[in-house]
Point group: C2
Chain length 392, copies 2
């Protein structure tokens, strides 16, 4: 008998707790696992020995994890020093922890890889569970968290699109998360049901942003539709690689960027004299339980289970990943990826997913992303009773 | 036999189509009503004689109106000249329109009152159906549209609050709509379940905003909780009555304001050196069908029905309104209000709904607003598994 430790790292997603659910329920099947420690508050929970025994949490509360936003264990995001990994090892030994599951994104996988390095000669297994709304983890086809963020933006842009279509007096610039990777912004394309539906333009950080072309695109669409909806990534950069929205403030440790959506709406007002506004759901886009993708929830649970099974089988230094078998019917299989291969990477959108003008996605992307959001969106778009009837 | 006309004005809500549903289904019961004209695109639909006969729309599509975002008829927002009211009268006579229902907010009720003036000697009845997310229509206790906008902000702030609590590294400033009236922003208080829950501060346009006090409030709460969530109205003004976020651009016809949320987040970063960010759901907050309040939907339908009944009974120059009988159990009754009494008004929050420091709402407001959002919010907040367990 020995103990298991589960920790969360980085920003939450709508399904990080679903992976926790998967790992806990699977772990309970194995008599060789005594306590299931949860680290409270991510890495700092490990360093501070701040644990709970998840085996003692009642079943009905564990069930609720599937529908609980944010991180049920708390999480953290700060750089770790080398000696802190040594300190973690001491903690593992003190608490007789033989198995470690670390759930997180790129930064957390880096942490996970370093924990593996210090723990590998001690008979302690370390497996990573991927999690990211940004979908920027290397090698895996996608990661739990993205499907729900994609569903949120598709649903939200469809609703904003209906609003703007019914009162076509302005340009709405919707800003989506994803600093260097445009996956979430791109998924807004799923809002469309037919030609002319929002979003009318999609700008991604993978392509240099050209303000002149943007204004020309908006002007043309405004003449055609009256109301225009533009989806933009928070991380847009110009041809020199500088952020489109200038940094508003710099400290020694961080740079704070302005809002791209606000910046571009202002540009439309000033340069085109067209009414414009911006929407920025921000954190709401990763915390929305109503917009959970059922496919994403299921895959998150499976990732948690697979990680537990792998570490129990003696595997270590690996991250659970997903390999796409087919788009339609949608089929994926769980794989294990050496954590070293994902540690330093940041996966951006490939060329074949972005159109040649750099202001939209391709059909290939739509086919790739569609299965990840699950069921049909729940918004009726029959509103334009008038628009499709003959005038009397 | 004569014809009925229904038109929408101003910004959509999540339930404006529910009122349309109520009016149509009620109108079908009266054999004296021949055609049910819907004006396509608001006032301009009337002026351009752009109508559809809603009697010809299949039943199953009419049912969908209950769940359709934006305005199913299209809507408009522009000032009308005096001669355009005369023109409307000509159109009514040309199409044998004897009954007019106009659904909208303050601006539309003004239009409605002016239509009543030109039509009153012609045997044409005009009744207003109130609609506003901002809840700023005079006399009526509240108006359809507000309950759903309130539910949206409560749900969204609760989810953002859970996110920030689980990764307490920043201040999140959530900006809500309502230029001069703080009702929506105030409703974010419904996100709370217990002491210390988000939103930690609420700033309303009914009180002058003091940046120094704001920074002191935020600093204290940051020391206590780590993560802080602040709800602010887009229309905050300082003690001189100037917008807190300076206008970014003025044209001859309009002033465009900067984003208050972004402005205040920047202030926190610069003055307190605390990480901060902003979220601005914007239009998403009035278009969200998943966040429809069931109470709001029902009242919107009833308002549509009541308007139809009133105009058929020969009443005119009135707006349907709601009178609160009791908070608990929640009970309201439909009333008719002379449209002249609501035409020029803009209802802001009364003193007893705002706390003395001007940074929160009162229990009295909570009791007033709670019934309007309907069922319990759907977010589990059991996340802090760790926070409520003893450390091991």
């Amino acid at each position: 008998m020995a103990n298991l430790l589960i920790a969360h790292g980085g920003g939450p997603t709508a399904v990080i707790n679903a992976s926790l659910y998967g790992a806990i329920t699977e772990a309970k099947k194995y008599p060789e696992i005594d306590k299931i420690y949860g680290a409270i508050g991510g890495s700092s929970g490990i360093l501070d020995e701040n644990f709970i025994n998840l085996k003692e949490v009642p079943e009905d509360e564990i069930e609720k994890l599937l529908k609980t936003p944010a991180s049920a264990l708390g999480t953290s995001r700060f750089p770790l020093y080398e000696k802190e990994y040594e300190r973690m090892l001491q903690v593992f030994e003190k608490y007789d922890i033989k198995w470690v599951l670390f759930n997180g994104g790129n930064g957390s996988m880096d942490t996970c890889g370093k924990i593996f390095e210090v723990a590998k000669d001690k008979g302690i297994g370390v497996i990573g569970i991927p999690k990211t709304i940004d979908n920027d983890i290397f090698i895996t086809d996608h990661a739990p968290g993205f499907g729900s963020a994609a569903r949120f933006i598709a649903q939200t842009v469809r609703e904003i699109g209906e609003d703007v279509k019914s009162l076509p007096i302005h340009v709405s610039v919707v800003e989506a998360m994803g600093r260097n990777a445009g996956w979430i912004t791109a998924a807004s394309a799923l809002a469309r049901q037919k030609e002319g539906d929002a979003p009318h333009l999609i700008y991604l950080p993978e392509r240099p942003f050209n303000e002149k072309e943007f204004l020309e695109d908006v002007k043309k669409l405004h003449e055609k539709h009256g109301g225009v909806v533009v989806a933009v990534s928070e991380g847009l950069k110009d041809e020199q690689g500088n952020p489109v929205a200038a940094p508003i403030f710099k400290t020694e440790r961080a740079t704070y960027f302005g809002d791209v959506g606000t910046h571009l709406a202002t540009l439309v007002i000033k340069e085109l004299r067209i009414k414009a506004r911006s929407e920025k759901p921000g954190i709401a886009g990763r915390a929305s339980i109503m917009n959970q993708s059922p496919v994403d929830v299921q895959e998150a649970v499976e990732a948690g289970r697979a990680a537990l099974k792998a570490v129990l089988e003696g595997k270590t230094g690996m991250m659970v990943g997903v390999k796409r078998i087919s788009n339609n019917p949608y089929k994926c299989e769980i794989i294990l990826i050496p954590i070293k291969e994902v540690m330093m990477g940041e996966k951006i959108m490939p060329d074949e997913f972005i159109n040649s003008k750099g202001n939209d996605v391709t059909q290939e992307f739509i086919e790739w992303v569609r299965p990840l959001i699950g069921d049909e969106l729940t918004v009726f778009t029959d509103f334009n009773l008038g628009l499709r009837k003959e005038k009397i």
